[in-house]
């Protein structure tokens, strides 16, 4: 799966939780949970959606690596490549 595909799936998962999000306006280097105003329940649903869409099960221990959208995309690319 290439980066563009990963990005599409991530945005689709995000919009399932926060329909008002417009991918173009997201600042991808900012704290994702602030940019999209995700609370802990939203975050968990977002991870569940990523798990279903991409088959990547992100453990709690890795949450701290996933601060921004850029970081999340890089993390997913690495997990999918291995």
């Amino acid at each position: 799966m290439d980066d563009a595909q990963i990005r599409r799936e991530v945005f689709a998962a995000l919009q399932g939780i926060a329909p008002e999000v417009e991918p173009e306006t997201l600042r991808s280097d900012r704290l994702l949970r602030d940019e999209v105003d995700l609370d802990s329940m939203d975050w968990l649903r977002f991870l569940a959606a990523l798990h279903q869409r991409l088959g990547v099960n992100i453990p709690e221990a890795d949450y701290q690596k996933l601060t921004s959208l850029d970081a999340l995309l890089a993390y997913l690319a690495e997990r999918l490549a291995s």
Binding site: P19, D37, S40, L44, R45, A48, L50, I58, P59, E60
Partner: protein, 383 residues
């Protein structure tokens, strides 16, 4: 014969507009079945029936706005038939409250002033139902007539704004009443959560996100278990006296993405294991946001819990949701300096607050309740 009345939809919602019936005369209904969908200031609500029976008459129609407590249908009890019961006067003629801004007949027969646009009686009626000012619409029909489709389009456009304003009004009314009537007292306690979070991390390790527990669920369960021992905080102040509630149903404050909040009830929190509780919470939050709550969820909460910690505040002192008598607030869960056994260490903590009605309980009682919540969270195995 049973008169089915529009049930309470919470302290801040005192009327509802029928959107649709889910039952028809002659149909059997069961306790707990959704019989109608009613629009309120905050959300569309699935109204549940509280008796078994057979539908005799529907007393209101879609578009009718009625206060809570208004009979909206009649049901036959077992053994009754339509012939054996005496129908009340209003059953024969559907009730139409004078306050409702719709009257098909008067709109149809009134001679429209010449300045008004052409509009069909059906479109005018629909405009009244949807709260649209038909006189301000520009029509797309023949000779500029306003059509049903024009009204619907205008109603769709107006809806989010109206809903937002209506929700602010509803919150304003309930919170003003709370601060006017309820003598609040406030307590706060910092609760160490090292044991609870370690237990949670071990529990969640290896689980798919769909099955993980959130810290919030442990906190809700601890509050509910503590309420078993402190029943004076779990119930309602009604008619000048405290009435303890039979069950422990926690109102969970949910911030809505479009603004405003709603605090639907999570039922029987003390009795449920954590995993089903987490599923029920996820389902409740999602339905609160998508606008498909049940009437019981809007009226059953016996104490409300608000967790604003996700937004980064250290603590929150809430306004009690009448007629409840207490509200628990939870602030941000974060690592902070902590002293234990004479040593300084780093400990995840959160500030728990209690806002309680001084008519129903005293500070000493409230303090012991918070101490019990704290004690329970030190032994997460027991939750």
């Amino acid at each position: 014969m049973i008169e089915f009345k529009l049930p309470s939809l919470g302290a801040d919602m005192d009327e509802g507009t029928l959107l649709e019936w889910r039952i028809a005369p002659g149909a059997a209904v069961r306790r707990g079945q959704v019989v109608a969908v009613v629009d309120t200031a905050k959300a569309a609500v699935d109204v549940e029936c509280w008796q078994d029976g057979t539908v005799l008459d529907l007393l209101i129609q879609p578009g009718d706005k009625v206060p809570v407590g208004t009979p909206i249908a009649t049901l036959l009890e077992e053994g009754e038939t339509a012939e054996t019961v005496q129908r009340p006067a209003h059953a024969a003629k559907p009730a139409r409250p004078a306050a409702a801004p719709r009257s098909a007949t008067s709109a149809a027969f009134a001679a429209p002033p010449t300045s008004r646009p052409r509009i069909s009686p059906a479109a005018r009626t629909r405009a009244a139902e949807r709260g649209v000012d038909a006189n301000r619409l520009s029509g797309t029909g023949p000779q500029g007539a306003v059509t049903l489709a024009d009204v619907e389009a205008a109603a769709r456009q107006a809806k989010p704004l109206d809903r937002h304003a209506a929700m602010r009004q509803a919150i304003a009314a309930a919170m003003s009443r709370s601060k006017r009537e309820i003598p609040h007292y406030y307590l706060a306690e910092t609760v160490p959560l090292g044991a609870a979070l370690a237990w949670l991390a071990a529990h969640n390790a290896g689980l798919a996100p769909e099955r993980r527990l959130l810290p919030g669920v442990l906190l809700l369960k601890a509050v509910a278990l503590a309420l078993r021992d402190y029943p004076q905080l779990n119930g309602f102040w009604q008619d000048g006296a405290f009435r303890p509630a039979a069950g422990i149903h926690l109102g969970v404050a949910v911030a809505l993405r479009q603004g405003g909040l709603i605090a639907p009830a999570l039922h029987d929190v003390a009795d449920q294991p954590l995993t089903p509780l987490m599923e029920a919470l996820g389902d409740l939050v999602q339905r609160a946001r998508s606008g498909s709550l049940r009437s019981s969820e809007l009226s059953d909460a016996t104490l409300t819990v608000t967790q604003l910690g996700d937004q980064g505040v250290d603590g929150v002192f809430g306004v009690i949701y009448p007629p409840q008598v207490a509200l628990v607030g939870v602030g941000r869960l974060a690592e902070r300096p902590w002293v234990e056994g004479g040593k300084l260490c780093v400990m995840p903590t959160a500030q728990f607050s209690l806002a309680a009605d001084h008519r129903a309980s005293d500070g000493h009682y409230g303090a012991r309740f918070l101490a019990e919540v704290r004690r329970l969270l030190q032994t997460p195995d027991s939750l």
